[in-house]
Amino acid sequence: MSKRIRSTVASDQRVSNRKRRTLLKTGLAAGTLGVAAPYVFVPKALAQRTKELVVVHWGGAGGDANRKAYFEPFSKETGIRITEQTGPGMEKVKAQVDVGNVNWDVLVDIGAFRMFQGMQQDLLEKIDYNVVTNTKDLLKYAVQTYGVGSNVGSEVITFNTKKLGSGKQPKSWADFWNVSGVPGHRAMHQKAFGNLEMALIADGVPPDKLYPLDVERAFRKLDQLKPKIDVWTTTYDQPIRLLTDGEVDMAPTWNARASSAAEKGAPLGVEWNQGFLYYDMWSVPKGAPNAKAAMQFINFCLDAKRQAEFATMYPYGPVNTKAIDMIPASARAQQPTAPQNYEKQILFDDQWWAPRLTSLTERFALWTAQK
């Protein structure tokens, strides 16, 4: 989920570059050219290739960690060459599947709700659990019909430690809603998923009774906080920047982004209590040219040692429960799946969201757009 935004920012850039070139068409460009491109530019898929695997990841620090922990060791062991591409958006998978010209083999770290969305639209291959056999020690939720968990992140309350140090910080979503008891400027992300859960937990719904969500109750609770939200953020690095600048004092953010900013000296603190755990997945597009090697690759990555290596470089939690003990103690404290953090958090239910994502996101957008 948190990684998804890189593609959005990248497409922002594409839109702005295109603007210069096709000035008069700009009005149409955002909607049409981007969608139309795959029909025209994608060459016919090469004939069956078995010695090459096309993996698509989100780039950046997460992409680097993926390369070192998974891609390079896999190539070395199997002799299968890995070709990397960035931006595994489900809309691009849809474009490839719709025209029967699939070029990708493995989608890396796609949000679990995207995996369920792809499943509903028939865009993904079933995982072949005859090949993917390293599943014994995996967290239960990681094993799905159309995807396998790659890592676990958490959407956590994050605060500026200069403004809200030593006891003044919000310790729960109820605190985040309590604007008089826990004063400070607040930002929230403009999205329905997660925010409805935060509202219900703040309203006193016990975590084990959270799903199915009481949507009406959630919006009523959000109504109370709406006038106190200073900034509705739209990109995933925006809340980190706002918190670092002191423009806002608290906001929900994503743990790996918060801790890597803190490592670089940003005054950010994370409250693990009531964080929302979400899974990123490996999936295989329907009709992938080298689906067999894709399954082999996924199985390779589930190995505890590989998982520990990835998590040490990039603080998203391993899905292999054996991996957590192999991570150095200092890095373990930043892991959502470290036992002391894991038990304080709540599992985000992507399966509940997948069929409702569009209608609830539209409703949420309308709600934020109105006074």
């Binding site: 959005t8 850039q13 000035l23 139309a36």
Partner: protein, 286 residues
């Protein structure tokens, strides 16, 4: 005409059309056909009919977004005219060296990444930004003024990007005006405001109209600026189209929104071009 010369004559007459061919091919193959294919989704999928349009028009979110998009674009256009005219006028009248400096000042920010410029504006406008810190330090205000995440911020951000289009359109029109016309008007006893209203402005009008068309249509497609400088109340069409394409995977609905936008823009462009055609006659009438 002798028969033998006929084909040569015909070829000469059609040469401009032949020269257009590569351009037409590129536009048809790489833009028109894919665009039509995408737009046709709005009436063909999931079932043939106008259901996607009905859904778009019935949802108050899209009504508001259409209205916001056109309102913001109109404000950007008007502000651009007001800001660009003096710059263009100055550039037509100053020494060539000064003019090059003016153009450099106009163009250099234009080559800066849109994101970088947005971050620049953020540091200036936000609650803890330069303007608010300065005002408070001087004791002019006691609390920060909300400048960022407003419609004003979005209009400012887009205007900053679109302004060069207006400046150059007006500059070209002003440059083409024979300076003797103004002198003649003044010789006949017209004062400066009257010369401006009766001579310069009517002749500059085609440039202003062309600039407005470029700026208005360009502004309709903005995506990053409303997302990063506005609040959810400034959501624009490109933002909801992107949402339908990337998040909802509902391409028929995205096509419906894009189709409505294209039709609205086509009507506006037609009206504008009519205005351009009639502008010189308007000038003559005076």
């Amino acid at each position: 005409m002798p028969r033998g010369a006929d084909w040569r004559h015909r070829l000469r007459r059609r040469a401009p059309l032949v020269a257009l061919l590569p351009f037409v091919l590129v536009i048809v193959l790489l833009f028109a056909l894919p665009t039509l294919r995408v737009l046709s989704k709005s009436v063909l999928e999931p079932t043939p009919g106008l259901a996607n349009f009905a859904a778009v028009f019935a949802n108050p979110l899209y009504q508001q977004v259409f209205w916001t998009t056109f309102r913001v674009s109109a404000m950007v256009t008007i502000i651009s005219i007001v800001l660009a005219y003096p710059v263009a006028r100055f550039a037509t009248e100053c020494a060539p060296l000064t003019r090059n400096v003016v153009f450099a000042i106009v163009l250099v920010p234009f080559w800066t990444s849109l994101l970088v410029r947005i971050y620049g504006w953020t540091f200036i406008l936000q609650r803890t930004g330069i303007i608010n810190e300065t005002l408070q330090a001087l004791g002019l205000t006691s609390a920060p003024i909300k400048l960022m995440y407003t419609e004003g911020a979005v209009v400012l951000g887009i205007t900053h990007y679109m302004l060069p289009f207006m400046i150059f359109s007006i500059y070209v029109a002003l440059k083409a005006i024979d300076p003797n016309l103004r002198k003649a008007a003044m010789t006949m006893g017209a004062r400066a405001p009257r010369v401006f209203l009766k001579v310069t402005l009517p002749l500059a009008l085609p440039g202003i109209v062309t600039g407005s068309l470029l700026v208005f249509i360009g502004s309709l497609g903005f995506f990053v600026t409303p997302a990063l400088m506005g609040s959810p109340r400034q959501m624009m069409l490109a933002n909801v189209i992107t949402f339908q394409v990337q998040e909802a995977l509902d391409w028929p609905k995205a096509s419906a929104i894009a189709t409505v936008l294209i039709i609205a823009v086509s009507i506006l462009a037609w009206l504008y071009f009519r205005l351009v055609d009639r502008a010189p006659r308007l000038a003559e009438a005076r």
